[in-house]
Amino acid sequence: MAEALLKVDSVTKNFGGFTALSEVTTEVKAGERFGLIGPNGSGKTTLINCISGTLTNDGGSIIFDGQDLQGMKAHVRTAAGITRTFQIPRPFHSMTIIDNLKIPLEFVSASGRAQTEIRDEAMSILETMGMAEKADEETSGLTQIELRKLELARAIAAKPKLLISDEAMAGLTGNEVDEVTQILINFNEQGMTIIMIEHIMRAVMQFSQRVICLDAGQLIAEGTPDIIQKDKGVERAYLGV
């Protein structure tokens, strides 16, 4: 069995008096396709905010690749190999699409390399996303799905060991969902560990090797997609009947 790439140990997060995460403990193994589900407001985004460093957890510890992330800034975590997408896309709107990709390439994965190489690299990522012909366009003209793809492409450009995708498929049609799922699976096959947060069950279950479910900030179930789908708690809190 592969090593645990990410260890989340009793992570707690409060907003004022409200507890968004309470002692969440889990592990993600290297190379794994990992699903994170849970009802709205259960703390999924909060958890990955804590992992990626946009929030600091109030309690517990997060260990990535043997390294304690406590006190580590977000960009250092990115350099260490954790990248996330945002639930609501946040492109660098004053730049072209390819320049959006150049940022993580230049600052993380291809730091110090020549500009031409960086551009080639960015182009090849855009190609895998099917967005190559839009490389030099502004982000303002993009459709929802294109924005989502850009969000993913930019994250992938950082060449993360662990990619966290926060609802990359919300609002996409069935075919488009399949398309994005396939992209993620391809990257996983190249060795990238991926955490997928999604409410589209078809995608999560098809994609994930293992799934955890949060409810009201607590971990309520963990297991293979099959087990999760049959779990009574998950059904009650999340899936409905």
């Binding site: 907003f15 589900i37 849970g38 009802p39 709205n40 407001g41 259960s42 985004t45 639930q87 609501i88 459709t143 929802q144 799905i145 609802e167 919300a170 609002g171 996409l172 049609t173 069935g174 075919n175 488009e176 399949d178 409410h199 069950m201 078809r202 809190a237 999340y238 899936l239 409905g240």
Partner: protein, 242 residues
């Protein structure tokens, strides 16, 4: 009781035309689903009805209690005053205002102000989570919570015609079902006419009376009833993963 009739609508952004001769009807008290893959113009159509985009040709007529109102020349404010509300794509909440303040703003139009207490109660009943979080800033709510607030806020204006752009985006499965159910209830209990763009076909079909499929800015298929829609080949290939 309200009815919406769109004829030969042409609209777009700048020089790019997105809708080409779209005609569509939403009958009194019905729920009509608008289907179509991304970027085909569903949101654009809704924006036209709400007055956010000025169409270049065609007509939009709103029939209400015998009156026939031409919406093309009306401002968004006038359109809201007629009793038409839009739940926009991307929610567009006021992130720095609290849940309650967002709701209150929903009742801005004169006709809605009188019924504000009743409306708030209704919304809190519809989405109890909002009642729990009435003092929280909308911007710090989770994605799904924001979606609930967006629908609730539109309801605050006591609309006769409600346009909903993708109500179930980002909702947990259990909530998708609930949300669609609530929309169905809404239409019944409050007698609201509803035009709804929705990607989750399986859910939409549960409440929709009819539907349209829009492809590249043109109506590719107009169904007579729900069954008609479910049987359509395009629907099968887009949504049912055939």
């Amino acid at each position: 009781m309200a009815e919406l009739i769109i004829k030969d609508l042409v609209a777009g952004y700048g020089n790019v035309s997105v809708l080409h001769n779209v005609s569509l009807e939403v009958e009194e008290g019905s729920i009509v689903a608008l289907l179509g893959t991304n970027g085909n113009g569903k949101s654009t159509l809704m924006r036209c009805v709400a007055g956010l985009i000025k169409p270049t040709a065609g007509s939009i007529t709103f029939k209400d209690e015998g009156a026939e109102i031409d919406l093309i020349s009306d401002s968004p404010k006038q359109i809201v005053d007629h009793g038409i509300a839009l739940v926009p794509e991307g929610r567009r909440l006021f992130p720095l205002l609290t849940v309650e303040q967002n709701l209150m703003l929903g009742a801005y139009r004169k006709a809605a102000r009188e019924r504000i207490d009743e409306s708030i109660e209704f919304c809190f009943e519809l989405f109890p989570r909002l009642a729990e979080r009435r003092e929280q800033k909308a911007g710090s709510m989770s994605g799904g919570e924001q979606q609930m607030l967006a629908v609730a806020r539109a309801m605050m204006s006591v609309p006769k015609l409600l346009l909903i752009d993708e109500p179930s985006v980002g909702l947990a499965p259990i909530l998708v079902a609930q949300m669609i159910e609530k929309i169905g209830e809404l239409s019944e209990s409050r007698n609201v006419t509803i035009l709804m763009a929705e990607q989750n076909f399986n859910q939409a079909i549960k409440i929709a009376d009819r539907g349209y499929i829009i492809v590249h800015g043109e109506i590719a298929f107009a169904s007579k009833d729900a069954q008609d829609l479910a049987d359509n080949d395009m629907v099968k290939s887009y949504y049912l993963g055939a």
